[in-house]
Symmetry: C2
Subunit: 279 residues, 2 copies
């Protein structure tokens, strides 16, 4: 496995590479990331992973400065996963001081997390497009945990005629149901317990839908009933949406997805899942 | 020479193409465009020209609907110029009804034409990035007549790590000095005569600079003295700028460029030129 730090080194390292698979990450890797890296390695001749805590997707009051980092640990894990090439640039390699070009998706990115994190998806789209242009992958792998991000990137790739297949991969969970996230490290033991409310909320919603419930409001109420009344737990949103347009559903008819964001202490967690119709 | 109309056909037509040169145009071709096409053919193994009147770079009160078109005439000219492939898509091929992703340069694009044509450079950047992703050129050729556009696109390409060399080519002029433009066809014979004030203004500015004048204000005043007092002629801007940052200069020191936009009747014309320092 090779580590490169600059776009110039990356270009040389990728010269002549064929069938390139790519997993962009912000590092501090967990089993969710590794499932993407392993899929990437299986599906492609050359498996590339980037590690870059992208400053432009963090708001001014967000956790950029304390975002967890562990490059050596990450490299160890990626080596074990059989990755060929790791690209870990510095912010100055990606954003010169007079950087001035942005990519913005203006429909799917506006609700849900986008409404609470202004500029977040602009930063995500911009850095992902840059990374795609640098790595030139045939396929790129994203976790469904960031479901809105996945859909925004797929839309960007379609709209901008980018020649890459963007593949969504299943959420990887801890044994007790908590979705893997680099931010889970922020949680105290008590908060870690409270954080189970996210996956439980999704489960309750899924049970209601399977029982035949078709009212989004009642399904969302069922989900919310899994959230403890505790001042440390603040629901940011729970929405039941069309899985492609991300628009709120007024009735559960065919495919649907429940997405939610909850603050536990100072940590913002997200989760989501598909709803299957029973009845 | 081959003509393709859809992104899918283009992809097939370009399969295996090496050393691709590209000239994006809005059609109604003149000698300026042809100089780009000829340079493109000389420098590359495969010469591709696109013809697409890009709706997203026109403002609501601009001339999209009456923009001149002549596909058959254009194809004739490009065939004579030795072009290999012409891509002439319909708007629906480029912009599906739920299109929602935009590329925006936020520094160089804000003054000059950008200040008078809100959204224009966003449309330009978006379509050029799309076309680059479709054609995958090694080199792309743009006329210096649209000098701000050239600099905005070069910045976009740098910022977004696009692997294409963007080459600016000299303005081609009519014998009397008028810069070639598809919009010149809008001019009545009287307006055609009045339109000479743009190139004359640049000439006067160049003469002043050569004589040793270093004050941008006095150089601009000299340029303006070439503009007739006529109600049909309205100066939109005359600026003396740094050729890379496009910022106004407060003193003429080294490289500088004069850029201007003038309305003649209902037709908006632009022109520009470098200033060489004499004295």
């Amino acid at each position: 496995m090779r580590l490169v730090r600059t776009p110039e080194e990356l270009k040389i390292a990728l010269k002549g590479a064929q069938q390139v698979g790519f997993v962009p990450t912000m590092g501090y890797l967990h089993k969710g990331h590794l499932s993407l890296a392993e899929r990437c390695r299986r599906d492609n001749r050359t498996a590339v992973v980037s590690i870059f805590v992208n400053p432009t997707q963090f708001g001014p009051s967000e956790d950029l400065s304390r975002y967890p980092r562990d490059l050596n640990g990450d490299l160890e894990l990626l080596r074990s996963a059989g990755v060929d090439l790791v690209f870990a640039p510095e912010p100055s390699h990606m954003y010169p001081s007079d950087f001035s070009t942005w990519v913005e998706e203006t429909s799917l990115s506006k609700g849900l997390c986008g409404a609470r994190r202004p500029g977040h998806f602009r930063g995500v789209c911009t850095v992902v497009l840059k990374l795609f242009n640098l790595v030139k992958p045939d396929r790129a792998y994203f976790g469904e945990k960031d479901y809105q991000q996945l859909k925004v990137i797929q839309r960007m790739v379609r709209d901008l005629n980018m020649d890459v297949d963007v593949i969504g991969c299943p959420i990887v969970r801890e044994e007790d149901g908590l979705a893997m996230s680099s931010r889970n490290v922020y949680l105290s033991p008590e908060e870690r317990e409270l954080a189970l409310c996210l996956s439980r909320a999704i489960q309750r919603a899924q049970e209601e839908a399977l029982k035949g419930e078709r009212s989004p409001k009642r399904i969302i109420d069922a989900a919310l009933s899994a959230v403890p009344e505790d001042p440390r737990v603040q629901v940011e949103y729970v929405n039941l949406v069309d899985p492609e347009t991300l628009e709120d559903l007024d009735e559960l008819r065919s495919a649907a997805r429940i997405l939610l964001a909850v603050r536990v202490g100072t940590t913002r967690l997200i989760d989501n899942g598909p709803l299957s119709l029973g009845g």
